[in-house]
């Protein structure tokens, strides 16, 4: 059995052992991370630990999606 075979609910329960940052640090880095993403820069290399945090923290993941979506809306309005 590999990690990929785990049930999604079990994955959420066990989390990942990838290095990740906490919610406060995520908030501090979020604006820079999203601008890097939208610029096509390697955001995960430049701001390590955020991607793994989004996987483990649905609330921060939602706010990441919202900030990205709002900036995308701004760019076309």
């Amino acid at each position: 059995m590999t990690d990929r075979d785990l049930d999604p609910a079990l994955k959420r329960l066990l989390g990942s052992d990838e290095p990740e940052i906490g919610c406060d640090e995520c908030f501090a880095q979020l604006d820079r991370y999203v601008e890097l993403e939208l610029a096509g820069a390697p955001a995960d290399e430049l701001v390590p630990g955020l991607r793994a945090h989004f996987v483990g923290c649905p609330a921060c993941a939602e706010e990441h999606e919202s900030l990205r979506a709002l900036l995308e809306l701004d760019s076309v309005s």
Partner: protein, 216 residues
């Protein structure tokens, strides 16, 4: 009240402010600062309305006016946070992006808490098995069954009561972390650290039980 105040159509949001350096006036005094604060609030209200609109499906009981009041409250609270933390802005993103995240956070937290306001949250860490949707199903093989038993045993024996409480509430019950933080008189960062430590302990227990792949 302008039409966009209660219109749930995203295209009706106020246009995005320009990228001028007006925010420097937030450090000033007098009329210049007042004008900058007003612009800041408009920016934050735009973001808060955007977020409330995105999450409105979780608040079907609220009218358009009530949703807008929620967005207004979020913008007000975000303005306080931004003004208190102006010195934290180091120009690593645009000021607009930096300010937006405060409004999105405030709005998202208010929506989650409002959606869960009348819902019971089970805080008894020993009640986890009644929520454990991780029991073996009819199609699971013996290996999966052994893995699930290792997980159940880990939850039972490897975690502190507090870790069990947070893991069960957030992962098995699906309680948003901000809602749980409010009920436990804690904060998101502290609870997430507890959750992170609980997951690490659980993975270690399951790996020791013969499933090292959970740590790969």
């Amino acid at each position: 009240m302008p039409a966009f105040d209660t219109n749930p159509d995203v295209s009706a949001l106020a246009p995005a402010p320009g990228l001028e350096e007006w925010h420097l006036d937030l450090h000033a005094q007098g009329a210049a600062r007042d004008e900058a604060v007003a612009r800041l609030h408009a920016l934050l209200l735009r973001a808060a309305r955007f977020e409330v609109f995105r999450r409105r499906g979780s608040l079907p009981q609220l009218s358009a006016v009530e949703l807008d009041e929620l967005a207004q409250d979020a913008a007000d609270d975000a303005a306080v946070s931004v003004l208190r933390r102006l010195d934290d802005f180091r120009g690593e993103s645009s000021f607009r992006t930096w300010a937006y995240k405060f409004a999105l956070l405030e709005a998202a937290v208010k929506v989650r808490r409002r959606a869960w306001r009348d819902r019971e949250v089970t805080l008894d860490p020993e009640r986890w098995e009644s929520f454990a949707h991780i029991g073996p199903g009819p199609d699971d093989d013996a290996e999966t069954e052994a893995l699930l038993e290792a997980v159940r045993e880990g939850i039972r024996t490897a975690l502190t009561p507090r870790q069990r409480q947070v893991l069960v509430a957030t992962v098995l019950e699906g309680v948003p972390i901000d809602v749980l933080a409010e009920r436990l008189d804690s904060n998101r960062n502290a609870l997430y650290k507890l959750l992170h430590d609980a997951r690490r302990r659980l993975r270690a227990h399951v790996a020791d039980a013969g499933f090292p792949e959970v740590n790969e």
